[in-house]
Subunit: 101 residues, 2 copies
């Protein structure tokens, strides 16, 4: 594989994670599955953008959406294997933060 292709992948990943709220959403999901309203209160993201981001992350295969047919309806978001594989990235960031901030 050519270097440029490797770069393309890294750049795609860095661009994806560089989207506002993305790493914070994943960070929340590493702890446990979360409901829509839980993100709103815990990270302060607006419902409009949260809805947009969760759809993007679902499309990328990073997040999975599960609907529970209760009353009222409950929707939970979890990480896929691809999403869980991002844990080292978040942990490295955590270590950096604890040492340098």
């Amino acid at each position: 594989m050519a270097d440029s292709a490797v770069c393309d992948k890294v750049e795609k990943a860095l661009t994806l994670m560089g989207k506002r709220w993305v790493t914070l959403i994943i960070y929340q999901l590493l702890e446990s599955p979360k409901r829509f309203c839980e993100f709103e209160s815990s990270i302060g993201i607006s419902g409009r953008v949260l809805s947009e981001r969760l759809k993007e992350l679902e499309k990328e295969g990073i997040v999975q959406r599960k609907v529970y047919d209760e009353t009222p309806v409950r929707v939970e978001y979890t990480l896929t294997d691809k999403g869980k594989a991002m844990e080292p990235v978040i942990r490295c960031t955590q270590e950096w933060a604890e040492e340098w901030l």
Copy 2:
């Protein structure tokens, strides 16, 4: 130190790295020092925002600006120790990208 303080640091770090172009700028600087115009051509960032980001990163102590009094003037940007300490975050992202993208 309380958990919430730990969380504050991670969240600050994730928010910082979640700003558009930030990780791509650091990724470029891990390879070698870069000039203003080199970022513009290599990652496609606009001059207006590049100028803004470099100032923010300088203020955060992640990037250092060096002026060389040549003709025409040459300005180089390098990573500080704090900036270099982000390398594991970028490498983890790189590994994830190579496995999952």
